[in-house]
Symmetry: C2
Subunit: 231 residues, 2 copies
């Protein structure tokens, strides 16, 4: 009716290259970050807003419609008594995890990364999956819980790989609690876990030895110089 039901972008690239097609799907402002927020499972409208600092409601609505139109996500109404609408990636939408993580891993090599900016729970959990150093995880199998504000996530480390999900972990070996940004100094900055606990940044329950080791399994990629040369 508003004649503004353009799929993803009104301006298109006239280019048969897959990269051009991909940028039509996810190149609009907010689209890729919105997909990131859905990568760990369905979310409601306002949960998405909360994870996307600064997006306005009308833009979020447009993006959801556009991504739905091209088959990246779908809207679903949960059965009564919940009877609430959620947005969920399609199978193909979930496959975009590789794209999101490849982009993030590449971008993090830039010296202009600012870790003091807001950091959503989903970003933190995905970053663990992305930045695990497999060799450091040798021989460690563990189930970990994360309490990030109101949200709970689980992780299972097995065979040098980390599987993550939203929701309660089953009999976790250790549970971390704190706000996402407070994990960064410990998991990526080399701060000893005990120090973060003493400072009240993080709380740990369960097996502290497992928790301490788990917190050392991750590393940011090496920075490049400001001129793009390897460090």
């Amino acid at each position: 009716m508003t004649e503004r039901d353009k799929s993803v972008s009104k301006r298109w690239y006239d280019d048969a290259c897959g990269a051009a097609l991909g940028m039509e799907f996810v190149g609009e402002r907010w689209s890729l970050l919105l997909m990131r927020e859905l990568l760990l499972g369905p979310r409601r409208f306002n949960e998405l807003r909360a994870g996307l600092p600064g997006i306005s409601a009308n833009v979020l609505t447009q993006r959801l419609a556009g991504l739905e139109r091209v088959g990246i996500l779908l809207r679903r109404r949960l059965p009564s008594p919940a009877n609430v609408q959620v947005y969920e990636l399609t199978a193909w939408g979930y496959e975009s995890e590789e794209v999101v993580l490849a982009l993030a891993r590449w971008a993090l090599r830039s010296p202009s990364h600012d870790p003091t900016l807001p950091f959503s729970p989903v970003s933190l959990i995905l970053s663990l999956r992305m930045l695990l150093v497999p060799e450091r995880a040798d021989g460690l199998h563990a189930t970990i819980g994360f309490r990030l504000g109101e949200e709970v996530y689980g992780g299972r480390l097995e065979d040098r790989a980390l599987r993550v999900w939203r929701g309660e972990p089953d009999r976790p070996d250790a549970v971390f609690a704190g706000q996402p940004s407070h994990f960064l100094p410990v998991f990526y900055g080399g701060m000893p876990l005990a120090q973060a606990e003493a400072a009240g940044m993080l709380q740990v329950e369960g097996d502290r030895a497992v928790a301490a080791r788990f917190s050392t399994l991750f590393a940011l990629p090496d920075k490049v110089a400001a001129d793009g040369a390897p460090a």
Copy 2:
């Protein structure tokens, strides 16, 4: 770095996530495709225009400046007698190949891909690297040349991997000539090479057996349904 470089985009995401940073770098219209055009080596202003159907000169200028500022590319003046300005990716810029290819591979699963759109020489050559099916290349070592309009590219297939570059190949086993879009039916659509030759779409020189086998080593990813479900 708390001083943000807003020259890439006046609007930034207030988000510490690497994906958000990445979208600030390459999320603006044309940026990622511009990087794609540089992935096979330095290019001049008008060569870039030619590979980016529809970009206007002022936007290309802005994008080049923005990408230079954040360290993805640099401008260089070739020594006399050429004495001409070229744009070239930095080492970090070249690392974005993984991002570009991951995006393209994911997007190509969409049924809305239209292979009849314009197709740049760089896109074709990168697509070969991206869509090689390693098992099909077992035991085949060969040097291949590509003449795409005025441009010449080389490829070296070795150990089930394809290395590509812009410029003359050294003693190629076979050379293909034709416009990029005419390669698609043969390399990705199953059309026999001989038929494309007979139709005048492609020309082949050198070892025709190697050329014929080479043309069968590639495959588009499986399509998903329009609703994002696996095919």
